[in-house]
């Protein structure tokens, strides 16, 4: 227990040290302290995984409370941790990506006035994320959940002087709060149903409440289904699933290392983690699980389609993240939790890589533009082109990441995405087949938009003034080295889940592989019902998913390298479609009208119309009348005193009416 507790404690100590005393020592010490802490946590996390592997991933797993946090009557919840294979995998992913981002940031944030503040937030985030995955009960999970959210808020708004950044941070927080509304109610319902919030108790008793119903809006709803759906609302917020996806693209206002760590690799996968963690519950609530799968599948396709036409390099990646998270929910909803978790891990590596690469591009282009006195958006790919000459290392690693996400064998994305598609197909019902089709279509789009990005950024002629050309150059070693490391993992991380069809993980000396390793962490519900696919079908599926990946790349090449004018013409040929996609289906505009502005208007109207006009208006109106009467009858009276007595009376009448209404 104590060794494991050090994993989150180290970043926490780094946060406290830099936060409280950071101004007393040179700023380079702030990144040294933060980086040392996260590297040490990484080492301990790897040790944890090795420890579990040597036990073949079977229990008993570490589980216990450090202290009682909140207790009142029969309610009791502790601060406690649990380490099972799922947590162990998450520990390595979180500390691994975090380490890479820490190193990278020393280069990326160099010269930023908020350097120390940045590393302080990074440490706090790493701690919070580790707390989230280590928690042994729902409330502590919620604590980590909220803390990563608040770190995200501060880091999105890191350049707070920029209005759009401050707006984006606020938006992220509030949209997440909408999700947490569901999550919170889910936690209430879990406690009322089970009398506990501990994972052990809840999961062990889950089967006993199957068939139990609860009244909701006059309907009888299965309790377990409702719990799962409420929890999933939380997951939709955190993992940016439709219709709560709107905050993630805006979150790109944050520094790019933050986008890589928080908004691609770790925090946004918390929703997937949560659903996988609650696999026992979702297995017993098939309706809720289907909702998860459908929302995931829809989001995968929806976000990928938006990604097709975006011109901001980070926004393409943001929609790609939303889409890939959709894949994970698709898998989890179909009961393939292992596949979801596996994709979560591989995605963390290649998407973290892609973001850091895009950061390197933006960093160089921005400096180049700045040095050349060019005023242009350094994130807009229409201002780029031909950068592979200036940035060869970034280019090569970027291509590795793109090939991985496009599902080209033998890279990591191939193994995990293919597994998800195969499991969907093998699910054996219409829903599974439909979602398989959706997944294949989204895979085609993924390969296309990724290579559209590569070609627009690195190939062709530079679409910026010539004087900037010589000013754009490769990033410092502190930034390229993490890229190489992540590229390496994007190549090989898939082998822990090497397809059975190609010999399985044991072929590449990975024992039984990650699925077997993770299996003890999950319930074994309806996933077990999936059909075994015949070898021919399996080969066909794999061939198809590779084929769509290659096709996507080929189309992108034809449009953006072969004949760039064709891409423009294509957009002109379907102006409506292009406009809808470019404007993200106008979801933001819709929300602004029906939620944001409506609530603000309602607040203003209520304030002016009710609080000031009605309440104080009745007050003053009645007061004047009474004062006049009073003035006529008794000159001694000072108006105001009586006025408020009248107000009081009015209030009492209101409450008396309400009270007597309920009395009857």
């Amino acid at each position: 227990m104590t060794t494991t507790a050090w994993i989150p404690a180290l970043p926490l100590l780094a946060f406290l040290c830099n936060g409280l005393f950071g101004s007393f020592y040179p700023r380079r010490w702030s990144h040294r302290i933060a980086t040392a802490a996260v590297l040490a946590a990484l080492a301990l996390s790897i040790g944890t995984v090795i420890g579990l592997v040597s036990h073949s991933g079977h229990g008993p797993f570490l589980y216990g409370d450090l202290y009682t946090w909140i207790a009142a009557g029969t309610f009791r919840v502790g601060v406690g941790i649990q380490v099972d294979p799922l947590t162990a995998m998450m520990l390595v992913v979180v500390t691994g990506i975090s380490s890479a981002v820490h190193v990278y940031s020393t280069g990326y944030m160099e010269g930023d006035p908020g350097y120390r503040r940045f590393f302080t937030y990074l440490s706090l985030f790493t701690f919070s994320m580790l707390l989230l995955v280590l928690a042994n009960n729902f409330l502590l999970l919620y604590v980590g959940w909220e803390l990563v959210g608040v770190c995200s808020y501060y880091l999105i708004g890191f350049w707070y002087e920029k209005r759009s950044a401050a707006d984006a941070g606020k938006k992220a927080f509030v949209v997440n709060r909408v999700g947490d509304f569901g999550f919170g109610l889910g936690i209430f319902l879990i406690w009322v149903t089970f009398g506990s919030l501990d994972y052990h108790t809840v999961f062990a008793q889950a089967h006993t409440i199957v068939g139990q119903h609860i009244a909701l809006l006059g309907m009888e709803v299965p309790t377990l289904t409702l719990i799962c759906l409420l929890l999933f609302v939380g997951a939709m917020g955190k993992s940016a699933q439709f219709p709560l996806h709107v905050w993630l693209p805006d979150a790109m206002e944050g520094p790019t290392p933050v986008s890589a760590l928080i908004h691609a690799a770790t925090m946004v996968t918390a929703g997937v983690y949560m659903v996988a963690r609650c696999s026992t519950l979702f297995d017993l609530a098939p309706v809720a699980a289907d909702v998860v799968a459908v929302v995931g599948g829809f989001t995968a396709l929806f976000a990928a389609s938006i990604g097709l036409v975006q011109n901001d390099i980070k926004r393409v990646l943001a929609y790609s993240t939303v889409s890939q998270l959709g894949y994970m929910f698709l898998a989890a909803g179909l009961g393939a939790y292992g596949a979801a978790a596996f994709h979560l891990m591989t995605h963390a590596f290649f998407k973290g890589l892609l973001f850091l690469c895009s950061g390197a591009v933006i960093h160089s282009v921005e400096h180049g533009f700045h040095a050349a006195g060019v005023h242009a958006d350094p994130q807009d790919m229409r201002n780029m082109g031909g950068l592979r000459a200036q940035m060869p290392a970034t280019y090569r690693t970027f291509v590795v990441g793109a090939l991985a996400i496009a599902g080209i064998p033998p890279l990591a994305g191939f193994c995990s995405k293919d597994l998800i598609l195969e499991r969907a197909f093998a699910h054996g019902n219409a829903l599974g087949t439909l979602l398989w089709g959706v997944g294949v279509a989204a895979a085609l789009m993924t390969a296309f938009y990724m290579f559209r990005l590569i070609f627009m950024t690195f190939h062709g002629e530079g679409r910026y003034p010539a004087e900037a050309e010589s000013k754009i150059h490769e990033s410092p070693v502190s930034m390229t080295r993490p890229l190489v490391v992540l590229a390496l993992f994007s190549c090989v991380a898939g082998i822990v889940g090497w397809p059975e069809l190609l010999g399985g993980p044991s072929l590449v000396h990975m024992g039984e592989g990650i699925l077997a390793f993770l299996a003890p962490a999950f319930g074994h519900g309806h996933a077990a019902h999936a059909h075994e696919l015949s070898e021919a079908v399996a080969w066909g599926l794999m061939g198809l998913s590779v084929a769509v990946g290659v096709a996507g790349i080929a189309i992108a090449y034809a449009l953006y390298v072969g004949r760039p004018e064709r891409a423009v013409a294509l957009g002109r040929a379907f102006p409506q479609v292009h406009r809808v996609l470019l404007n993200k289906y106008f979801v933001d505009e819709l929300y602004d009208v029906i939620f944001v502005n409506a609530i603000k208007t309602l607040a203003r109207l209520l304030h002016r119309g009710f609080d000031v006009f009605v309440i104080d208006g009745i007050v003053n109106g009645t007061a004047i009348i009474i004062r006049d009467i009073g003035a006529g009858l008794r000159p001694l009276q000072t108006g105001r005193v009586n006025n408020y007595a009248t107000v009081m009376l009015t209030g009492f009448v209101v409450i008396a009416v309400v009270a007597s209404a309920t009395w009857l």
Partner: protein, 501 residues
């Protein structure tokens, strides 16, 4: 017989006030400040032994002192505390000390009188919490009004007279109702003012009689909370009050109302309670949403915080009247938390008000750049106010809502959870407009960051916010027996939905 520690804590500020009144010359404001602050520090230190020596295993009144006072009327000097009042007294002595220190440079006119008013106010507030005799209670209750009225009316802003009169009359009208209820209870209980005796006898009165008594008490306290729709005095009072006045008003005075519910309305009228509950829960739910919406519409920082108080007090009344252990303990803890967080927010507004003499949100923006330390404090209390886990607000809010969810008024837990979204909305929007965005108002370019005194004023509240957030057990443990005892008096039928599986 040990020291009459409660009386000492209660009357120490009064002694300090007398010392200033008679011992300090008007032209020596520094002396008045020093004596007042020293008095409040000593009072705070004197209140700490209450916590140390408090027996956490019993619901009985502790540190009881009882002396005959006016025997012919059955009036006694009878004081004592339980878990609820222990926490409230500690909050009072702490906030009084902090409030006095916060006025060091903010109050420059009639300093002597200001300090006397603050100290008299402290005595009467503590007196309200310790009184176990209705007459004594009423005396302190009314005594509390006068210094607060003066604080607003003399040291307030432009519309201070309006606000002070509004505050005074609203509260006075409530007090009149309370007085009627007290007199009825006095007569019906055989001419005793003893609160504990009455609490034993009152539940035996006829349900109709209990209904009238409850209605009178409820209205009296609802004004003080203030519950919707009696809240309109609050934004005015807060806006016009000097910073220290707002801190005490939000931190302690609003809690007088909820304390009244806990000590009188709930235990004395168990038969009447169920009939009123739906209305009370409804008003609480309305207050949460309505207060939040009002806060969204404000342009003045203090008004925004004032309306947020209406919303937060809605959670508290929701918790108290859900009548189960979790909700009630959550509600009481939230009384303390609101005192800490909202007190701190008013102090923070005071910091920039003292520099800029405006509270308009639109006058600010980008302050983080010039006031980084201030930004840290501001963000901590913003997060505390919107219930970030790890800070105090979350624990109380969660316990409240999980308890309400377990009561027959489940729907109001949903309302409360929805209010949390709005809470994040108005607080973060305010925070952005003040602390983020570009620093574009030239008047803000040279703003000085917080000085050492301001740091010292706010630091204890940060410590408390983190302490309660991470390890609330010492606070909750104080409450367990008292709340248990209180709920045992509440009507069983509404206490909860029944045992958990």
């Amino acid at each position: 017989m040990s020291l009459p520690i409660l009386s000492i804590v209660t009357f120490l500020p009064l002694v300090g006030a007398a010392a200033i009144l008679f011992g300090v010359r008007r032209d020596n404001p520094a002396a008045a400040r020093h004596v007042a602050f020293a008095t409040s520090v000593v009072t705070f230190l004197a209140s700490l032994p209450l916590a140390v020596r408090f027996d956490r295993t019993t619901a009985a009144m502790q540190f009881v002192e009882t002396h005959a006072w006016i025997p012919s009327m059955g009036i006694r000097y009878h004081v004592g505390i339980d878990g609820i009042t222990l926490l409230l007294i500690l909050l009072t002595t702490l906030l009084s000390m902090i409030a006095i220190l916060s006025t060091w440079t903010a109050v420059t006119t009639r300093v002597k009188e200001f300090m006397v008013a603050m100290l008299v106010l402290e005595t009467s507030m503590i007196g309200v919490f310790i009184a176990l005799d209705f007459f004594l209670f009423y005396l302190f209750w009314e005594a509390m009004l006068v210094p607060m009225y003066l604080l607003i009316g003399v040291w307030g802003g432009e519309r201070r007279i309006y606000a002070a009169v509004k505050f005074f009359l609203y509260t006075l009208a409530g007090s009149v109702l309370m007085l009627v209820a007290i007199l009825v209870l006095y007569v019906k209980s055989g001419r005793t003012f003893d609160i504990q005796t009455i609490a034993h006898l009152a539940p035996t009165f006829s349900p109709a009689m209990q209904g009238w008594i409850f209605a009178a008490l409820f209205l009296a306290f609802a004004v003080k909370v203030p519950m919707f729709p009696f809240h309109t005095w609050l934004p005015d009072a807060h806006t016009e009050a000097p910073t220290a006045g707002s801190v005490i008003l939000a931190g302690v005075l609003l809690k007088m109302g909820t304390y009244g519910f806990l000590r009188f309305a709930i235990p004395m009228c168990p038969d009447a309670l169920p009939r009123f509950l739906p209305a009370i829960m409804l008003l609480s739910g309305v207050a949460i949403i309505y207060g939040a919406l009002m806060a969204l519409a404000q342009k003045d920082l203090k008004k925004l915080v004032a309306y947020s108080s209406v919303s937060h007090m809605g959670y508290i009344t929701l918790g108290l009247f859900a009548l189960n252990q979790q909700a009630m303990e959550g509600g009481i803890l939230q009384m303390i938390n609101h005192g800490i967080s909202t007190g701190a927010l008013f102090l923070l507004v005071g910091v920039i008000y003292e520099r800029r003499h405006t509270r308009l949100i639109s006058e600010f923006g980008g302050l983080t750049k010039v006031m980084p330390i201030y930004a840290v404090f501001f963000s901590i209390f913003t997060m505390s106010s919107i219930g970030l886990p790890g800070l105090n607000g979350f624990v109380g809010e969660f316990l409240t809502l999980v308890g309400v969810f377990h009561s027959q008024f489940r729907i109001f837990a949903v309302v409360g959870a929805f209010g949390i979204i709005l809470g994040a909305g108005y607080m973060l929007w305010m925070f952005q407009r003040v602390m983020f965005n570009r620093l574009d108002n030239p008047k803000n370019f040279e703003l000085k960051d917080m000085n050492v005194r301001e740091f010292v004023v706010l630091a204890p509240l940060v410590v408390l916010a983190v302490w309660i957030g991470l390890y609330p057990d010492p606070f909750l443990a104080i409450l367990h027996p008292t709340v248990n005892h209180l709920l045992a008096q509440a009507p069983v039928s509404v206490a909860s939905l029944g045992p958990l599986p």
